[in-house]
């Protein structure tokens, strides 16, 4: 697939409007908390849209609404995590090719490496795409993952969204050596920086890296330079660590505004109408979601519950019935 800016734009607008709605729902007390993706739409849509969903697999952390949207995951099932319904959301990881969200920011990058080894052993021709941020780049697991992938020449694309801030710590105080991308050289594979606000550039870079990975040319590291326009989460107050001037200056690089420059008014209007419809359906779906039955406390811990769990389940049930 070649970059289709109209389609990428539509996905970005859906993500932006869903993101705004999720933030609004948090303010209304529907969502207990939310981690906005505002500003990172191009990085997420451009990369995830390059996946081949019949072969590849993506590994998110916790701020990957845009990737989920681009992969066709039901937004209600994804946002169920933020509604505190279930930690991993309600979507089927295998069917959607998107692993459950992970709040341990370095951890899933190693899962991508293992999955890529499994795919290579099976000769599926699939590649793993794994998301992490500038903050997570400090984690030891990221080093171990890249070293393993380099040693085994695995089909994995490490996709760093460098959004400038790890909660309150700016990239300059987080990343030694100039960039995350530069580290790839130490692992023997290509690392490149891409304008993370240019959705077409992100798409092309990711597509090429995934194609090389699938054809056996090994891993790659992409550092998408973007900006978290919103707070780290709805509990965060960015004014305590960054200036309004900085935020205004970076807002001029808003990926959606940049993409609009290359689109017609009709295309933009059509995308907004589509997004409004998705938001309406999603909001309705989220408001209709019921908490899981309490019995599900005990489900899924093991394939079959242990005797101790069965006893605890029975005791819980009796306490409910009393």
């Amino acid at each position: 697939m070649d970059a289709d800016l109209r389609e990428l734009f539509r996905l970005m607008v859906v993500t932006r409007r869903l993101d705004e709605e999720a933030t609004a729902l948090q303010r209304q007390g529907v969502l207990p908390a939310y981690a906005p993706v505002r500003g990172q739409e191009a990085a997420q849509i451009g990369s995830a849209a390059a996946l081949a969903l019949d072969r590849d697999f993506a590994f998110p952390t916790y701020r990957e609404l845009g990737a989920a949207v681009a992969m066709g995951v039901d937004p209600v099932a994804y946002l169920a995590m933020h509604l505190n319904i279930w930690h991993g959301g309600l979507y089927d990881a295998n069917a959607s090719r998107l692993a459950p969200p992970n709040a341990v920011v370095g951890g899933p990058v190693l899962h991508a490496v293992g999955w890529a080894m499994g795919a290579k052993l099976d000769g599926t021709g699939g590649a793993a795409l794994t998301y992490f941020g500038d903050g997570a780049s400090s984690q030891g697991d990221i080093h171990e993952a890249m070293n393993f992938a380099g040693v085994y020449r695995l089909p994995v694309v490490f996709f760093c969204q460098n959004n400038g801030w790890a909660i309150s710590l700016p990239t300059g105080d987080q990343v030694a050596g100039g960039s995350v991308a530069a580290r790839a050289a130490g692992y023997g594979f290509e690392g490149l920086q891409v304008d993370g606000n240019d959705v077409t550039a992100v798409f092309e870079a990711t597509k090429q890296a995934l194609e090389r990975a699938r054809s056996g040319e090994g891993p790659a590291l992409i550092e998408a330079m973007t900006y978290r326009l919103g707070p780290h989460s709805t509990s965060d107050d960015p004014s305590r660590y960054r200036s309004a001037e900085e935020e205004r200056a970076r807002a001029e690089q808003d990926p959606i505004a940049l993409a609009k420059n290359s689109l017609t008014t009709e295309e933009i209007t059509s995308a907004e109408q589509h997004a409004a419809a998705v938001v309406a359906t999603t909001t309705e779906g989220l408001r209709a979601l019921q908490p899981p039955p309490g019995d599900e406390l005990f489900s899924f811990v093991y394939r079959e519950p242990t005797a101790a769990l069965l006893a605890q389940h029975r005791a819980w049930k009796e306490s409910q019935d009393a």
Binding site: F57, W86, H87, G88, L90, D92, A93, N94, A99, P100, N102, V104, G107, P108, V109, L110, H111, A112, V113, G114, W115, A116, M117, G118, A119, L121, D122, A128, G140, D141, E144, A145, N147, F148, V151, S299, F300, V301, Y302, R303, E304, T306, A307, A308
Partner: protein, 329 residues
């Protein structure tokens, strides 16, 4: 019947597991070319190839994180972490990922991972090579924990762990690797379900409860006690999670006295859990409080002091005597 050591029995179990299921993968530090520092994987790479049995770089977190991804891709990983104390760098992956992925994904992503972990003390090894981490792992929802006491148990429990759909921490008692016993892996034996204990010596005056290398120590104690006419039952707990509460109750309700023996430090050790289960189920039958003989609440010591640390025959006998002589005030 051939004599096999625990090391040979585990090697045979891995070989049979690879033969029976072509999704089984064996990997870890030095497990390929070298065959493992304890030679448990000796010859397996030659037999099954570098894609089934392979060496990893020296990074425990990656070994376990990679296991999660391999399981997601439909493989059945059997990683090794070379020594107990080196599982700490992988704790995040074990606790936050391996143990929870099935739950997090609402059952979509099975984690049939068996972590082989050479464990416990008794071989005069350096620091971080003699740890007993069973209560730590048993505390984590989503994990199963098992430790064999000898060669036959080692073979069958490892086959069972690898076949299990859930993640299993398989704690191999290093001090038993070279102990031989009559055992023929080709002969069928009574297969106990996951979570079942085994009475390895029947008795009527008290039950000694142990796992791993402490089972043979308790059997020694029972031999000595028998010379004085004291008949001790020895219960090999085998599974430390799920733990066999029914088996414990069945034995102790008959013998009415229990002594639990483990290498791990006393405080918050698994002996506390065993003691609680017995008290809950056998309170009316008990003639004495459950006695615990354990390692001390100190870091695992150097080899020079190892024998002072580990429960020995005298300490267990003393605890048995305390239980037998106990009178309600």
């Amino acid at each position: 019947m051939p004599e096999l050591s625990l090391q040979q029995a585990l090697n045979t179990a891995l070989r049979h597991a690879c033969e029976d299921d072509d999704r089984v993968l064996i990997f870890g530090e030095d497990v390929g070319t070298l065959g493992g520092v304890f030679r448990v994987t000796d010859g397996l790479q030659d037999k099954f190839g570098e894609h089934r049995v392979f060496d990893t770089p020296l990074a425990e977190s990656a070994i376990m994180g990679m296991s999660v991804g391999l399981a997601m891709a439909g493989w059945r990983p059997v990683p090794e972490i070379q020594f107990d104390g080196f599982s700490y760098p992988a704790i995040d992956q074990i606790v936050n990922q391996v143990a929870r992925m099935h739950y997090r994904s609402r059952g979509a992503l099975g984690m049939p991972i068996t972590l082989r972990l050479p464990s416990f003390g008794g071989i005069r090894a350096p620091e971080h090579h003699g740890e007993s981490l069973e209560s730590l792992f048993a505390h984590v929802p989503g994990l199963k924990v098992v430790s064999p006491s000898g060669a036959a148990e080692g073979y069958h429990l490892l086959r069972q762990a690898i076949a299990d759909p859930d993640p299993v921490i398989f704690m191999e008692p290093k001090s038993r690797y070279w102990q031989r016993e009559d055992f023929d892996p080709a002969q069928p034996v009574e297969a106990l379900p996951v979570g079942r204990s085994r009475v390895v010596r029947p008795g009527k005056h008290a039950t000694l409860i142990a796992w791993g290398a402490m089972v043979s120590r308790c059997q020694q104690v029972a031999e000595l006690a028998a010379e004085d006419g004291v008949e001790l039952e020895v219960l090999d707990l085998r599974w430390l999670k799920p733990i066999d509460a029914d088996g414990l109750a069945e034995s102790v309700s008959r013998t009415r006295r229990a002594v639990v023996v483990h290498e791990a430090p006393l405080t918050a050790g698994l002996g506390g859990e065993v003691s609680a289960l017995i008290s809950e189920r056998c309170f009316g039958d008990l003639r004495a409080p459950v006695q615990r003989v354990a390692g001390f609440d100190v870091p695992y010591p150097s080899g020079a002091l190892e024998d002072e640390y580990l429960p020995n025959v005298d300490r267990v006998l003393t605890a048995v005597q305390t239980a037998l002589e106990y009178r309600r005030g």
